[in-house]
């Protein structure tokens, strides 16, 4: 039986948990609160359990409702809620289990005061931006969640030389800030759609960085490690290819924008 912490429901189930509501919705029945609390606890738990899995066994739910007074209800068609700033609902929707999808659908339409807590618990916030500083803990924290069995992270670090050429003492990073933030979000959305069940986060730094400084922090979580590694690899590769960020190398030989002098 699954009851979400954001339901703030006592273990004696004085109200219908979302899982029990889902079980009833699947068979198109409604149960009044007075009918619910007259059911023995074991029956209430059984209804909640029936609504907790990936699929609901309608016959089993009908059997549980035998002899219980119910009224007809429309069969609910779970739909993805509208986009909400800060929570990447669309990118992560396919990675959510059926009860989580049901809960978000139901709360977005029926219980707006509880919806934000459900979004935080089930979807998580998007962390993808340019910033003066970057913390590995923050980035990993943004992808950590109970269904993620693996988290892969990547740090891009300022090195002391450009490939086969010259010494580097400092890098100045510049970005087209507003577009870079949008691109980082779009890249994370794309990776999460391609690896359903993954979550990604990235912070790329701007400003003057010295040898050894971390320039970019990426992380990807997934149910299993293979997808976590793949998603993290795709994330950093796309960040390097498609985000308007530039770096000027400074060393004993002078300064130059990486990739500019030999561009044609």
């Amino acid at each position: 039986m699954r009851v979400f912490p954001f339901e703030e429901l006592d273990p004696t189930l004085p109200l219908l948990p979302l899982s029990a509501r889902r079980a009833l919705d699947v068979v198109g029945r409604k149960l009044s609160l007075s009918a619910w609390i007259t059911l023995p606890l074991s029956a209430r738990q059984a209804l909640a359990t029936a609504g907790s899995g990936d699929a609901v066994d309608a016959d089993a739910v009908r059997a549980l409702l035998e002899g219980v007074e119910t009224s007809p209800a429309e069969v609910v068609c779970v739909a993805q809620p509208a986009a909400a700033e800060a929570w990447p609902i669309a990118a992560r929707w396919d990675g959510l289990d059926a009860l989580a999808q049901y809960a978000l659908h139901k709360l977005s339409t029926r219980r707006p005061e509880r919806y934000e807590a459900a979004l935080n618990a089930l979807v998580g916030r998007r962390l993808a931006r340019m910033a003066p500083t970057a913390s590995l803990d923050d980035v990993v924290g943004a992808v950590r969640h109970p269904r993620a069995g693996g988290i892969a992270s990547f740090l891009g670090v300022v090195r002391d030389h450009a490939p086969g050429r010259h010494a580097v003492t400092r890098l100045d990073y510049e970005a087209y800030g507003a577009m870079a933030d949008r691109q980082l979000v779009a890249i994370c959305d794309g990776v999460e759609r391609e690896w359903p069940g993954s979550r990604t986060a990235v912070i790329h730094r701007v400003g003057e960085l010295s040898v050894g400084d971390v320039a970019v922090v990426c992380a990807a979580s997934a149910p299993h490690r293979a997808q976590a590694f793949e998603a993290c690899r795709a994330l950093i590769d796309r960040v390097k290819a498609d985000v308007p960020i530039w770096k000027r190398e400074l060393g004993p030989d002078g300064a130059e924008w990486v990739g500019w002098e030999r561009a044609s």
């Binding site: 087209y176 577009m179 790329h204 970019v216 390097k240 498609d242 960020i245 000027r248 500019w260 561009a263």
Partner: protein
């Protein structure tokens, strides 16, 4: 039409400015790039390596432009 053009990194050093307002007769992003390359030979020399963004999104050269658009000249990116 009037467009705002943003120059970053090497393109800013090459053009000598971070942004400017330009008047051009252009139907597409590609025609804007033609105008910018005519104005700044150092951009023309690197034309194949430049990408343009229109209103903060990478744009294909065939994409139409409109009055007031913000066009950014994106030199080869180097994040990471």
């Amino acid at each position: 039409m009037t467009l705002t053009v943003l120059y970053f990194a090497g393109a800013r050093d090459a053009s000598g400015r971070a942004s400017e307002s330009i008047h051009v007769e252009a139907r597409t992003v590609g025609e804007v790039l033609d105008a910018l390359c005519a104005r700044y030979p150092v951009l023309a020399a690197r034309r194949g390596a430049l990408r343009l963004a229109r209103n903060e999104v990478f744009a294909h050269l065939s994409e139409p432009v409109g009055e007031g658009d913000v066009i950014a000249v994106i030199p080869p990116v180097a994040g990471g």
